[in-house]
């Protein structure tokens, strides 16, 4: 299917713009994804990139113009996504905002909320973080304990303890799930807030990930005030709104299949590069039949995942089982990426032990880092175990396990 002339022209223009505007690598180490943004320098550099891209008119093709977007235009959005990968541009640092908070606000927000929040979100002027998980409520999210109490003037006070809050230390806003109602079941007693992070009583403490990187935090709320209009949707509707956010988080969103496909191909290309450039005996890993077979298997699986991301939007082809592809995409993609990083480490042999700090580390030490980071994806946003429950129950109709 050939692109229309207008779209092809758009792609050409964008490609030209990217050629002139993608910045060279900074003098410091960049994080692998938005999950690992740690230092102020990294953050500022990445924020500037998103701002520049926004100002050039390339961010916001899923947000109407009146809210600061570029109008709903999935075709252009997909082209931007593909070309960003192609040009190896930096990732967009306001990831949670763009992919989870933004769509949720667009779906459930008041006109005022949309007008106030979406533009600075798209431009990375205001960063968003997510406050769902708690120390005692991970897989069993609905058992969370954070509590918001409405005051006489309609404003709120929140007390609680959130964990796993990526980029909280740079965030202006949090999408926050808290208990507001008494005497109803645990699902019906939750509400969803757009919580300002600069309020008194909010403190952000960094957590350190297993690979030593920061970028994720715990956030303590000690009777912290929120204005009345911090509430998104209705009181007690929090669980349903949160499920929408989680669907976005798990990749069910309408993000372009081709964009996601391009991301898989980029990962595979990186694995192939490891095989081709890693010496083994007289040749390279790419000549070893056992490694070749394993790479081929990952190629097949990656191609299947990429094609499935594209197929997810072909509604007619998913009539029998409409939820399967959206609900499975995070599960299969995160486990595949984990196997891929593990295989890359195996190819490196003893040098897989070398870390980012070692100047002699092959590929800059990115692979053991990537392997460890891969668990962020098989745990965060619903563990693989929970996702298998959900698929079994909601897609196959099997009885509940809980």
């Amino acid at each position: 299917m050939a692109e229309s002339d207008a779209l092809a022209e758009f792609r050409r223009t964008l490609r030209g713009w990217l050629a002139g505007n993608v910045p060279p690598p900074p003098p410091f180490k960049l994080p692998q994804t938005f999950l690992e943004v740690e230092t102020e320098a990294q953050f500022r550099w990445l924020q500037a990139w998103q701002q520049r891209l926004y100002d050039a008119g390339y961010v916001g093709f899923d947000v109407p113009e009146e809210y600061g977007g570029r109008g709903i235009d999935p075709a252009r959005q997909a082209i931007v996504a593909e070309e960003l990968i192609e040009a190896r541009a930096p990732f967009l640092v306001n990831f949670i905002a763009l992919h989870w908070a933004g769509p949720t606000i667009l779906l459930f927000g008041t006109e005022a909320q949309k007008r106030r929040l979406l533009r600075p979100l798209l431009r990375a002027d205001e960063i968003w973080c997510q406050g769902f998980s708690e120390p005692g409520a991970g897989s069993d999210l609905a058992s969370l304990q954070a509590r918001a109490v409405q005051q006489a003037d309609g404003s709120w006070r929140v007390t609680g303890h959130k964990v796993w809050t990526t980029v909280a230390h740079f965030a202006r806003w949090m999408i926050l799930l808290a208990r507001t109602e008494e005497g109803v079941n645990k699902y019906a007693s939750l509400s969803y807030f757009l919580c300002p992070m600069e309020a008194p009583g909010v403190s952000v403490q960094p957590l350190v990930k297993l690979n030593g990187e920061g970028g994720f935090n715990q956030v303590l709320f000690d009777d912290a005030p929120m204005p009345a209009d911090a509430l998104l949707g209705e009181r007690g509707q929090g669980w349903n709104i949160a499920m929408a956010t989680l669907m976005f988080e798990r990749g069910a969103a309408e993000r372009g299949g081709k964009e996601r496909a391009a991301a898989f191909f980029a990962q595979l290309g990186a694995l192939v590069a490891v095989a081709e450039r890693t010496p083994l005996g007289a040749g390279t890993v790419a000549e070893d039949p056992v490694f070749r077979q394993r790479v081929a298997a990952l190629w097949v699986e990656g191609q299947a995942i990429a094609l499935s991301a594209m197929r997810a939007s072909a509604t007619a082809l998913n009539a029998e089982r409409p939820l399967a592809l959206p609900l499975m995409s995070k599960l299969v993609a995160s486990e595949w990426a984990q196997r891929l990083a593990e295989l890359a480490c195996e190819m490196l042999g003893p040098e897989a032990a070398l870390s980012l700090e070692d100047p002699a580390a092959p590929f800059g030490g990115e692979w053991p880092r990537a392997f460890m980071n891969s668990f962020g994806m098989t745990i965060g946003g619903g563990t693989s175990q929970i996702l298998r429950n959900i698929l079994g129950e909601r897609v196959l109709g099997l009885p509940k396990s809980k």
Binding site: M1, P25, L30, R88, G257, K258, A261, F265, A266, L268, G269, A270, V272, A273, A275, E276, R277, A286, E287, P289, R292, Q293, V295, A296, A297, W299, V300, E301, Q303, A304, I305, L307, S308, M310, R311, S313, A314, A316, L317, R321, A324, L325, M328, L331, V332, F363, E366, Q385, R388, N389, L391, G392, E393, V395, L396, G397, L398, P399, K400, S401
Partner: protein, 383 residues
């Protein structure tokens, strides 16, 4: 930024995967017909039937248009429709030489002489004749370059010597298509069954019968030889189609086993609840589900690519689809037996039909180890 190596560019499907209203109708009507005409009871009856399929099946499929879709006179076909039908057929394991016949017809349509096409294609499309391509030889050989069957010019004609095995429904085919090699290269012949030594194989899979063929100094004339200039491309296309059909069938096998096992897991109670409530049952079933959905994406994309201009890309996607669906189906049937417990270990449980089909299919037209090596060559070059 990680350094990256370029991957081979494979054909990508359009946004709607080329799936039209017409496809939906074909699929729905196939499903209706199969629900009426294919059943486990019929599979049981046919187990001891010497032919192995109901004689009425092929004419009925012809009437439904299954054969026309697969063997259009102009040599082109809608691969997506054929793949969808193959999946439906795999879900029910409908025994019939449908798939082997359309593969043979595609080969004949592309490389047959006008006389051969005239002789065979009309009865094929009408469901009045069956043909089968003898791809497979002993020692795991199937690659056109490695065939050991030999064709030697003898005066005006040819002498053929060789052997073939796992020829789908070869024991009932009216004629066989024999790929061989001569001093000049690849040669294809169409030979009536009576001229060959044909022995029905005894296999574990009663739903798709097969035969081995032997021929020693078999004398043939030019009339039985297909157009040599078209032979290579036609055999490549037939192999691609045969692998695609196998892959699509195996997606159907996984679907059927998943449905049977899911239903059983909802009904069968142990420890006071349906066993499907146990994660030890639920999670493997989810893995079957995710694998088969991934296989389906490959099969659909491969089918679309088969109709396109990039033959190497289509070959690669077909190899991927075949690889993935065969692995997936074998896992699916293993879980199917295991999760049915003692009942799954009996012939009373329908899963065994699918188990045998999946096991018997995995090694056809290239084992997964060979396919993996083939794909690695595409990726890395080398041998």
């Amino acid at each position: 930024m990680q350094p990256r190596s370029p991957l081979p560019l494979l054909p990508l499907p359009p946004a709607d995967f080329g799936y039209s209203e017409a496809h939906a109708q074909i699929q729905a009507s196939a499903r209706r017909w199969l629900a009426e005409h294919a059943s486990a009871a019929e599979l049981r009856r046919l187990e001891t039937d010497p032919v192995g399929y109901a004689p009425s099946t092929l004419p009925a499929l012809a009437e439904l248009g299954w054969l026309e879709l697969g063997c259009p006179a102009d040599g082109a076909m809608d691969h997506l429709s054929v793949a969808l039908l193959a999946e439906e057929q795999g879900r029910r394991l409908l025994p019939s030489p449908w798939a082997s016949t359309i593969v043979a017809a595609a080969l004949l349509a592309q490389a047959g002489t006008p006389e051969q096409r005239e002789r065979w294609l009309p009865p094929l499309v009408a469901g009045q004749a069956t043909l089968s391509v003898a791809f497979q030889e002993p020692r795991g050989v199937w690659h056109p370059e490695q065939l050991r069957s030999r064709a030697v010019r003898q005066g005006d004609g040819w002498q053929l010597t060789g052997s073939k095995l796992a020829v789908a429904w070869g024991q009932r085919a009216d004629a066989l298509l024999l790929p061989t090699r001569s001093a000049e290269g690849l040669e294809l012949f169409v030979v009536e069954r009576g001229a060959l030594e044909v022995v029905a194989e005894a296999t574990i899979d009663s739903t798709r019968r097969s035969a081995r063929l032997g021929f020693t100094g078999l004398e043939l004339t030019e009339r039985e030889r297909l157009e040599p200039s078209a032979a290579g491309a036609a055999l490549g296309g037939a192999l691609r189609l045969a692998r695609l059909l196998l892959a699509a069938e195996l997606v159907g096998v996984s679907e059927a086993v998943l449905a049977l096992t899911r239903d059983y897991a909802c009904l069968r109670e142990q420890f006071g609840k349906p066993i499907g409530a146990f994660q030890a049952v639920k999670h493997p079933l989810v893995d079957v589900l995710t694998e088969l959905e991934l296989s389906r994406s490959l099969v659909l994309s491969a089918a679309l690519a088969c109709g396109g201009p990039d033959e190497a890309g289509a070959d690669t996607l077909v190899a991927m689809a075949r690889w993935h669906s065969a692995e997936g189906a074998l896992r699916a049937v293993q879980h199917g037996v295991q999760l049915h417990g003692g009942y799954g270990f009996t012939k009373d449980c329908d899963v065994h039909f699918y188990f045998k089909r999946a096991l018997a299919s995995r090694g056809l037209l290239g084992t997964n180890v060979e396919l993996g090596a083939e794909l690695a060559r595409r990726l890395f070059g080398g041998s």
